[in-house]
């Protein structure tokens, strides 16, 4: 069984380094000492389980889960995909939580001050648990780009934040999804914390015209890959070795 061994070492050159000067907030929030490499113990190989009973029927419907007087303003979209591990095996039962700005690029958060209007019908949060084949989907509006204080004229491209729980705490991941064809992706200091262009492209959801809902919503496909585990075949050395 390849679901039992320790996890493949995280490829730190694929992830953003902690210290990224162009993303200014990281400068004082990045460890300077090397991380201590730790072979996985039971504390990292285990993780919490979230049952479907935790979810409500509108949790994956951002068009309706906060609506008061009608649908939110914006481009209606469906986001769907699979959660896989590095062995390309589906990860069923994974909890995905997501949050985003509204169509004008404004978040509903008490510390948010951007001048774009709040949408009275849009909360901006949702969650879903993957099915037996690792699949998920949700319905929302396409978020807007927005300016943020970093450089005097830096803008975030349209994006949706994802928090993912796999089967083990070692798989815990937070990332962001971007939209195919958006030129803003390539001028964003937060995207640019990822050193490898192919790694950035892994976070760009594909516009899927085949799964577009006619006369209703565009579809974007976004697969998420969590760490994979070694086969137990290699975990224990033969006696005498």
């Amino acid at each position: 069984m390849s679901d039992q061994g320790s996890f493949y070492q995280r490829d730190r050159s694929w992830h953003p380094p902690a210290f990224t000067r162009s993303y200014k907030t990281s400068v004082l929030r990045s460890p300077q000492q090397p991380l201590l490499s730790l072979e996985n113990t039971i504390s990292e190989l285990t993780g919490p389980v979230f049952g479907h009973d935790k979810l409500g029927p509108l949790d994956n419907d951002l068009l309706r889960n906060f609506a008061k007087t009608g649908d939110p303003i914006g481009q209606r979209i469906v986001v769907y995909g699979r959660v896989l591990d590095e062995n390309a095996r589906p990860v069923p039962g994974a909890l995905l939580e997501f949050w985003q700005a509204n169509a004008g690029g404004r978040y509903r958060h008490k510390k948010e001050t951007y001048l774009a209007a709040i949408d009275p019908n849009f909360g901006g949060c949702g969650r879903v648990i993957t099915d037996e084949e690792g699949r998920y989907w949700f319905r929302t509006i396409k978020p807007g780009a927005y300016p943020w204080p970093n450089g005097v004229n830096d803008w975030r491209p349209a994006h949706i934040h994802f928090s993912v729980f796999g089967h083990a705490f070692a798989q815990r991941l937070i990332t962001q999804m971007y939209f195919e064809g958006d030129p803003m992706i390539w001028q964003d200091p937060i995207v640019a914390t990822i050193p490898d262009k192919a790694a950035i492209e892994q976070l760009v959801a594909a516009l899927d015209r085949q799964n577009t809902l006619p006369m209703d919503a565009l579809a974007y496909k976004f697969d998420i890959v969590l760490r994979g585990r070694r086969s137990t075949m290699f975990e224990n050395r033969m006696e005498g070795n």
Partner: protein, 208 residues
């Protein structure tokens, strides 16, 4: 050409950003009515076995300021040292203790606080027992990849001294960065665990 390994790459991390609470603690940021309660706030119920404790602290940046936008998650074994997880093969954990918690740092003071139980000891890979510990994961604006560390307990001196993970820390002066200090507050054992992301007191973070 050689055969292909057919492995995928892990999705790269991106910062949780300043508004992570919208997705994780919507009620806390006044997005009410979407779901009833935020996940991970309550770890302990009346039936949970084990010694009730509080853990609290703040997360500091390299200039010594506390992060008021941080989100802290903890993961721990039950009082007998068993994890409530399908990957736990050594026995059945306390059904009244999930072992996972999540709290935002206070928006004004930066303090986080969990009410939980003291975990039992769990074995290292080679069977030796590790000292009781809680896995801690920190995300915030400016943290590009979530930081993993461990909380150990100041009143477990003997266990800490023989913990194979603490023994791996080459710079012994840094071991105390992982040890929460015990005091009594409101009749409950309260452990303070401050996390220093950077600087002279930088906490030991793990690549797990």
């Amino acid at each position: 050409m050689v055969q292909k390994l057919s492995l995928l790459k892990e999705s790269p991390s991106q910062t949780a950003g300043p508004y992570v609470h919208i997705g994780t603690n919507p009620n806390w940021v006044e997005i009410t009515g979407v779901w009833q309660e935020d996940l991970g706030l309550v770890l302990v119920g009346p039936e949970t076995k084990g010694e009730r404790i509080v853990i609290k602290g703040r997360v500091f940046d390299g200039a010594g300021d506390s992060l008021r936008d941080a989100l802290i998650e903890i993961w721990q074994a039950d009082a007998d040292g068993l994890y409530n997880s399908p990957q736990e093969k050594r026995g059945k954990a306390d059904p009244n203790f999930v072992g996972w918690g999540r709290q935002p740092a206070d928006g004004t003071t930066g303090e986080y606080r969990f009410e939980t139980i003291k975990p039992g000891r769990v074995p290292y890979k080679d069977g030796r027992l590790m000292a009781p510990h809680i896995t801690v994961w920190i995300v915030a604006r400016g943290i590009n990849t979530g930081l993993h560390t461990r909380l150990y307990f100041s009143d477990e001196e003997a266990a800490n001294a023989e913990c194979p993970v603490l023994a791996r820390i080459a710079h012994k002066a840094r071991v105390p960065t992982l040890i929460a200090t015990r005091a009594e507050e409101n009749g409950l054992p309260t452990y303070t665990f401050d996390i220093h992301i950077q600087g002279e007191k930088e906490t030991v973070f793990f690549d797990i």
